[in-house]
């Protein structure tokens, strides 16, 4: 049992939407405090537990803990506080405020946080820790995304590549959404067997975090957690960007169209007139 390490990577979205901030649903400081407490709780559970925190907004994403540049001299030991807690707290506080003030000077080009990039970075980090693991030890990793963004945040193909890699590496992706149901992230949770949860009451953010996302995935099965969402896997057609039930798929580039077109608009291949499906051809033969 003790040979299992558990790694939690928290991806923290600091680009909270106007709606969340202005209507005073939650203040930034409350938000960060809740996450800091949550991260410390995870470390406190078991001595073998590891944690990493990545902040992300619409401009950049960055590891804030562990921090390679953290000099131990800058840490004043507050009385009675465990060393690792003060380290976590100090790095989070310092690096997040640096990160926010740094990016405030830059131009905002998009309104969506770069969650895909943060996940890709986290997977690189996980694969490094797995390489550095001593023999006989195993690492259970999961990624928790806390975000307040409202719609599809990334390019679908790119994000799905990341999700499939996580699935292959046995990394669970959990999502704690502050406001919206995000179809893309719901799919990510469904594929990696994580939990997607929309916080109904932001003032109780910490309680929800501790209740749902603190227990290890193995323990979750024994707890009463919200039932899994029914995930909609219907695609958008490439021509009108609408959800479709039945579509036509290009056999060369897998583009999806809602109607039969003579030429694929993506790869410009010319289609033959509709042929019988391979399934029908098979039946004819019998």
């Amino acid at each position: 049992m003790e040979s299992e390490k558990s790694l939690l990577i928290v991806i923290l979205d600091t680009s909270l939407t106007h709606d969340v901030m202005c209507n005073n649903k939650i203040r930034m400081s409350e938000y960060l405090n809740a996450v800091t407490v949550f991260v410390n709780c995870h470390v406190m559970l078991k001595p073998t537990n590891k944690v990493a925190v990545v902040v992300v907004d619409t401009i950049d994403c960055q590891f804030v803990y562990p921090d390679n540049n953290l000099s131990l001299t800058s840490l004043r030991q507050t009385t009675g506080q465990c060393e690792i807690f003060s380290q976590v707290e100090y790095s989070l506080r310092n690096n997040i405020s640096n990160f926010i003030s740094q990016n405030a000077k830059k131009d905002i080009l998009t309104t969506e946080p770069l969650i895909g990039a943060a996940c890709a970075k986290s997977l690189c980090y996980i694969s490094r820790l797995e390489r550095e693991l001593e023999a006989g030890k195993s690492l259970n990793s999961r990624i928790l995304i806390i975000t307040g963004s409202d719609n599809e945040c990334d390019k679908y193909v790119r994000f799905m590549n990341i999700v499939f890699t996580a699935q292959k590496q046995n990394v669970i992706i959990d999502v704690c959404s502050l406001e919206h149901d995000i179809a893309l992230l719901q799919q990510a949770c469904d594929i990696t067997e994580g939990i997607f949860f929309k916080v109904p009451n932001l003032s109780a953010l910490l309680q929800y975090l501790l209740w749902i996302f603190l227990p290890d995935p193995g323990i979750r099965k024994k707890l009463v957690v919200p039932p899994p969402n029914r995930v909609d896997y219907r695609p958008l057609c490439f021509c009108h960007r609408e959800l479709i039930d039945i579509g036509y798929v290009c056999s060369v580039c897998l583009s999806i169209f809602c109607k039969f077109t003579p030429i694929c608009t993506t790869c410009e291949v010319v289609f033959k007139t509709p042929t019988p499906l391979p399934g029908k051809a098979k039946k004819k033969k019998k």
């Binding site: 990039a117 694969s127 490094r128 039945i246 036509y248 060369v252 694929c264 033959k272 499906l277 391979p278």
Partner: protein, 485 residues
Amino acid sequence: MSSISIKNPLPKFSVKGNTSPDKWEKWKLLLSKSKGETVKSIKGTPSKEIVFCLNDTILCHSLSPDERRYSQAEKEVLALVFVCERFKLFLLGQKYLSIMAVGMNDIKGYRWESGYEKSWEEIKENEKGLGFSALTESLALLEQKKKKQNGKIVRLGMMRHLNIIVDFSDAMLDQDLKPTRQICTLKLVQKFIKEFLEQNPISQLGIIVTRNRRAEKISDLSGNSRKHLQSLEICYSSNYCIGEPSLQNSLELALSSMKMLPSHTSREILVIFGSLNTCDPGSIKDTIELLKTHGVKTSVIGLCADVYILRTLCNVTGGQYHIVLEDSHFQELLLNYIKPRSVSKDCEATCVKMGFPHHSEKLPSFTACMCHLDDNVMNKVGYFCPQCNSKYCELPVECKTCGITLVTSAHLVRPLHHLIPIHVFKDMINSPDNNSQCYGCQKRINECMEQISVCNDCKQIYCNDCDEFIHNLLHVCPGCAVLIK
């Protein structure tokens, strides 16, 4: 011999021979002056000898009875040690040797020649453990890197039909692959099937086994990996492997299921053959011609020695012929067939009608699903065919009622990284006082003294491990994901 002077920086050795471990006959070690020079092979050399050729001088080393029992890797190293002793005078003062292992008939197989200069060091380091597998592994990596550079495949045939023919004759009980050829093959084939159907979501796969002079189709062409894996379970029993295989019977069985397929799909056969003989009712040459006229690409993975008729089969139908060196090599050969093949520009393409089912809005009562009708299992959740409303509990599946293929959008996205490969990172020399860190894993660059890579698009620095991880698994550059176009 004077051609090898001290000025000549890197004499190249190539170890050449039959790559099958137990039927190992002869190794030719050829020393050629430069890259472009063709390898001189000696015909009719007596077996059980290592033959070396240094320009025009031929040296032979008879294998002692003990040495004959060496494994293939050991023989290879033996050959190298021998050549170093003999050619010591010419090699002293040279920095590295470059070694190349090529299959018997792969004379143009100079693929690995460049970028392989330091492999001698690798052997030296592992001298006690004879780490030849490390060598083949790095070979594979280099090959992959090469392929990445060649990248830019415009069109891929995503719609494939593949029949796997597996030999279950008594030759498969041989123990040169651990634990036996049978078990090793089954394990790898199962892995292959799963991966193949994941990466080729609109393709179909069928399994044919051949034993006791017969061919038997144990799983029809379909895209459901669970069914295939189930049908393979029976092959695990130890008395499953009997008699001789029949290549012709199995090829004809495979052909009969693929003849009627529409012309825009690829037709492929992959044969895994362990036996050295085949028991055929007629002339196999006719079957090969037939395969050629129907455009069926046939590839063979041999577990034993090079067989003439199998090589002809591959050459005529445009497939590939490979002999397995060891189990990790076997796996690598199999995984090569997963990637969709590039197709010519004027190939025929088509639009395939597909259904994208979703859970219904209201919770339905417990009902049986179409895929488990016989098992009397009822469950609440399931996917409903948008055309005829049949219920299935797993996807992808072909609707039994209306024939449409049901998939999710996630299935269709999975193979897309083949179409949009990410760019190769540029190698960069690391300076020890470099204080930056790897953009991916946050490792300090001065900790890893090896080479580092830099992405051409986003100019971020990565360590070698991350470079490998990003290109082989992730297919996303984290730095580029930050840039907004």
